[in-house]
Symmetry: C2
């Protein structure tokens, strides 16, 4: 079987690592020949997916096409579907997710609890939402936002003009959401087969820093009652968009009895990287199984606790080739580098997962390793 992925980032890289064990061939479609995933894929098509000839060359090689990013145009997926290629998640699933306003509407229609939201066309609309809901509010780009690029928290009207100018550039459509004062942020990886079979991974806690995922604690330190509610909500969210494949579902735990759906990502997800070491079947393998129509693997943890911490860039420039060496000395730290050639502040360069009997121990180990990763090239002495 050949699985095509438009995009060659770290998610595609980790999908390929899983694909190798099942003798699944991969085809990466990328602009550049030197992407993390393209370098290790059996097949690669270089070019722009908006170019018809490139897309055709890609489609011809694939039995199934799947995504590592939700930023592929719905239209591209429809063109692939029209060529007879199986595409999972489907174009209509993507359409229900890509525009965050439509996503919220879809969940609301399915009876799932979400924070209050409004479409806004002008700053004046935001001010009238504020009269209704009061500050703080979240101003969000409806499309193409990730890792905090694409949203701003407004604590008062004085922050509105600047945030609007920034987020609303080039006529980008925006929306407003009620700011949720949550107790914890939770996430659940859901994997759903072509036949509707669903498996859920344990509910995890995600800790963000500057809107970027910093740490994932698995399982989340919450009651089994709350975990069950979170998991059920996550499954219903994926069913609401008729999702096939792995889905990262982000939730707000407002109180132990009130959980709101935040966002859903139609792909393997940073909050599920811990599953590589900590679960029977990783999110990556299960995603491949799902989109190929194969049976899904068990999702339970094989260890009482796991913590994943992202390795984020803190400067601009190439990475230090010896960045890892000191961190390798930390027993129990599973290190993953993504092979990116350029560091940017906040860019995800890798991650570290540690397993232990307790979350606190796993966190200590992962943190010790991440603290020793030094992406900067040291200044020469003298």
């Amino acid at each position: 079987m050949r699985v095509g992925i438009p995009g060659g980032g770290q998610l595609a890289q980790m999908l390929i690592q899983a694909a190798i064990s099942l003798d699944i061939e991969t085809v990466i479609l990328e602009n550049s020949p030197d992407s993390p995933a393209g370098r290790i894929s059996r097949r690669q098509v270089i070019g722009d997916w908006r170019n018809a000839a490139t897309l055709a060359a890609f489609a011809e090689q694939c039995d199934v096409v799947t995504l590592e990013s939700e930023f592929v145009d719905e239209d591209i997926l429809r063109k692939l579907e029209a060529r007879g290629v199986a595409v999972y998640p489907t174009a209509s699933t993507l359409a229900a997710i890509q525009d965050k306003l439509v996503q919220k509407q879809t969940f609301e229609k399915a009876g799932l609890p979400v924070a209050a939201y409004r479409a806004v066309e002008t700053p004046r609309d935001v001010r009238s939402v504020a009269q209704e809901m009061d500050w703080p509010l979240l101003l969000k780009a409806r499309r193409n936002g990730y890792d905090g690029y694409g949203n701003a928290t407004l604590h008062g009207v004085e922050q509105l003009a600047k945030a609007w100018a920034h987020l609303g550039q080039n006529g980008r459509q925006l929306m407003v959401e009620d700011y949720v004062a949550f107790e914890r942020e939770l996430a659940v990886m859901i994997v759903r087969g072509r036949d509707g079979q669903v498996r859920s991974y344990p509910v995890v806690e995600t800790i963000q820093r500057n809107h970027i995922c910093h740490m994932v604690r698995a399982p989340a330190p919450i009651s089994s009652h709350t975990a069950r509610r979170a998991r059920d909500l996550a499954i219903r969210a994926v069913e609401a968009v008729d999702g096939v494949g792995a889905f990262g579902v982000e939730l707000f735990m407002v109180t132990k009895d009130l959980i709101l759906l935040n966002e859903i990502a139609p792909r393997v997800h940073n909050s599920g990287h811990y599953t590589i070491e900590a679960c029977v079947t990783s999110q990556f393998e299960n995603h491949l199984r799902a989109v190929l129509g194969w049976p899904l693997g068990a999702t339970n943890m094989i260890t009482p606790a796991a913590v994943m911490i992202n390795v984020l860039g803190a400067h601009h420039g190439p990475p230090n080739p010896d960045a890892l060496k000191a961190a390798l000395d930390v027993d129990g730290a599973n290190i993953h580098l993504y092979g990116k050639r350029h560091v940017r502040p906040g860019r995800k360069m890798g991650h570290v997962t540690a397993l232990a009997y307790e979350l606190s121990t796993a966190e200590e180990i992962a943190r010790a390793a991440v603290d020793l990763v030094d992406l900067r090239i040291p200044e020469p002495d003298g």
Copy 2:
């Protein structure tokens, strides 16, 4: 860093899977462009390593060269070393292992217990060994034997002529070993760094069928006292050949108090495949760390028990592309296929590992999955 591997089989494939996570580039040297490892390596050199130009093209791309097979000529490694390429295991380590007679002599010189053995030049020599040690005896090719190709158990003189004719073809050198009636076969993966730092994996039990590894049970169901002896012996064996990298050490447990060294393989080893899922750091990652001079990772198991069973070919022909599907339904079975294009009886096509609280449960799960892998292409219904 770039690590070169002459050979593109499943061991190289699994080394590459581990290399990806640490952003280590690999260079595969293979005769055919479609080997399991070559297909997924960032770099590949196609050709025969005995060809000087091919070897030079390979050497130029590598910071370190390592092995997936002990059947590379010692001379080839010396040529690479002469070009200034770091080679681990070194040519002299390989020389001490490749000829099984020299291997035995090396261990004996280091004071390590081995079964009695003799060099033999003619069938008459075997008969005189039999007078000394009595039947049964093991007749062994000194070089290039694996998976039962290269040795024969002789229960009496009547089996000698045929075995000699078969094993001794083309003037191949043979040796004789006393046949050891063991209680169990044990194996230990040892990883040794460039600086002499040593880590040992748990002692496992290996179950052979027709001289081919059938199953590995980790940890071996033996006393901690016996395990300690086995582990110490394995470490001393690797030190005796000044090994750097991962080494598979095979042992005979004759009784709980008598353990003999059987053979050592200067590479990652089938008896260590379970470490991918069951240990903090897999043998593949630790081998890469060792040959690169990096710190070694922790070798302890993260689960009480693990069982690995090989998926062996039983016919001649191409594999069934749907071989896996039914086996994927077995919860808890981690399936690895090697992407080989031809099945042969006894050929290693993949393996399955299962983790559990008890060996018996892990074995049940792994066996259920292996039994469902069907490599034969089904006959069309008539």
